[in-house]
């Protein structure tokens, strides 16, 4: 089971990224659990400076932007 976290409390891009990852996981039947982290203290533990952050198996993969679908899939499969 891959753990995926979307870090971000209310920005438009955070919602977009969350929806996108949820959809990718569902569409490809990936063994992954997606959680949206909105608590700022929790977010700060990852040391990111801009949101959204994409965390896969506790590793920060991207910050401040929405990565391409293929890129996200590769990360999940590597995870």
């Amino acid at each position: 089971m891959v753990s995926i976290k979307i870090l971000g409390s209310g920005c438009a891009k955070c919602k977009t990224l969350n929806a996108k990852v949820q959809e990718l996981v569902a569409k490809n039947n990936l063994p992954a659990m997606v959680i949206k982290v909105e608590d700022i203290m929790e977010i700060m533990k990852y040391g990111i400076l801009s949101t959204p952050g994409l965390v896969i198996n506790e590793k920060v993969k991207s910050v401040g932007n929405i990565p391409k679908d293929e890129q996200i899939l590769t990360w999940i499969n590597e995870g």
Partner: protein, 337 residues
């Protein structure tokens, strides 16, 4: 990669050709093709609209593309590294300047604030960044340049920078660290392990294209409305309608505009239609620019967000110092122009 460069070169050539011939094309369309009466006020309104919309959109596309590429060199992480341990003043100048080019969204203000302060960026320097980043951005500058000329744009940028530098410096000097919420200094922020990925030139060009798509999609409607309103009031609202309220002679208009602007929130593109109308109808430049800075730079939503990490006295200091700076700038403009 080579293909991309060729396409962009061609597009740039088309851009230059279009931009330089816009006036001629508009004349051709309005006077020769549709054959509108040259003297009618409606014609001048239509001419204004047909000429200004593509002009501003062309400018916006080019500048946003270039800024998008520049920004790919300045991640917030890198900016933080550059600002760490910087002394006052030099740090304030650097932070304000970096605020212009570092990508920033007010929704990221908290993680950014925490991340800066945690890693040893002084409070005043952090504030210089937080003041400059939303207030001075490429959209505001392009719109001011396109609609009101390069002098206005340059004045807005330089005075905005000055406000960010001086306000941050004062906040730093006042030693207001005790008014930062206590938990801020106790949390352990992790360090990002994300390796600074090596972007290729092609990646950076893509970043520019993405920026154009994102920003133009977001602001084109405001530009359209703004110019339409500008074209509309051109002929139908009396010329000096706003002069008594927001003209130079009304000394109180600067502070009142700033006070009204603080609780309001809008992005640069959204406020431009209002600016256009006010200027057109006799409001003075200083008053209007002060209003614009106050709407974009100080906003209730941002204050509420910052309340999570700042105690009230610091919030008041922040709003008070920046607000006073904007008021002074407004007066200076009104005296100079």
């Amino acid at each position: 990669m080579r293909k991309k460069v060729i396409v962009i070169t061609i597009l740039f050539a088309v851009w230059i050709a279009l931009y330089n011939n816009l006036e001629r094309l508009t004349d051709l369309l309005v006077y020769s093709l549709i054959q509108l009466d040259k003297e009618a006020p409606l014609t001048s309104a239509i001419h204004f609209f047909i000429y200004e919309v593509p002009k501003v959109l062309l400018l916006l596309t080019l500048i946003v593309f270039i800024v998008g590429i520049i920004r790919s060199y300045f991640s917030p992480e890198r900016t933080r590294k550059m600002l760490g341990g910087k002394k006052h003043f030099a740090g304030n100048v650097m932070a304000s300047t970096l605020g212009i080019v570092t990508p920033f969204c007010s929704c990221s203000a908290i993680p950014l604030f925490l991340g800066f302060v945690e890693s040893g960026v002084p409070l005043g320097v952090t504030f210089s960044f937080l003041i400059a980043a939303p207030m001075i951005n490429e959209v505001a500058l392009v719109l001011l340049f396109g609609l009101f000329g390069w002098k206005t744009a340059l004045l807005y940028m330089s005075t905005g920078l000055l406000i960010a530098i001086i306000s941050g410096y004062i906040i730093g000097r006042l030693k207001l660290e005790r008014f930062v919420e206590d938990w801020v200094y106790t949390i352990k922020a992790g360090t990002t392990e994300i390796a600074e990925e090596q972007l290729t030139v092609s990646d950076r060009i893509n970043a520019g294209i993405e920026a154009v798509k994102e920003i133009v999609a977001k602001v084109w409607i405001y530009i359209l409305i703004g110019i339409a309103v500008g074209a509309g009031v051109h002929g139908y609202v009396p010329e000096n309608f706003m002069a008594s309220l927001m003209g130079k002679s009304a000394w109180w208009s600067v502070p009142v505009s700033v006070l009204i602007g603080i609780p309001m929130y809008s992005n640069a593109a959204g406020i431009i239609p209002v600016v256009q109308v006010l200027l057109e109808k006799g409001a003075s430049l200083g008053t209007v620019l002060a209003f614009m800075m106050s709407v974009i730079g100080l906003s209730l939503p941002e204050i509420i967000i910052l309340k999570k990490v700042l105690k009230l006295p610091l919030i008041f200091a922040f709003v008070g110092i920046v607000g006073s700076g904007i008021i002074i700038v407004g007066y200076i403009f009104n005296i100079l122009y």
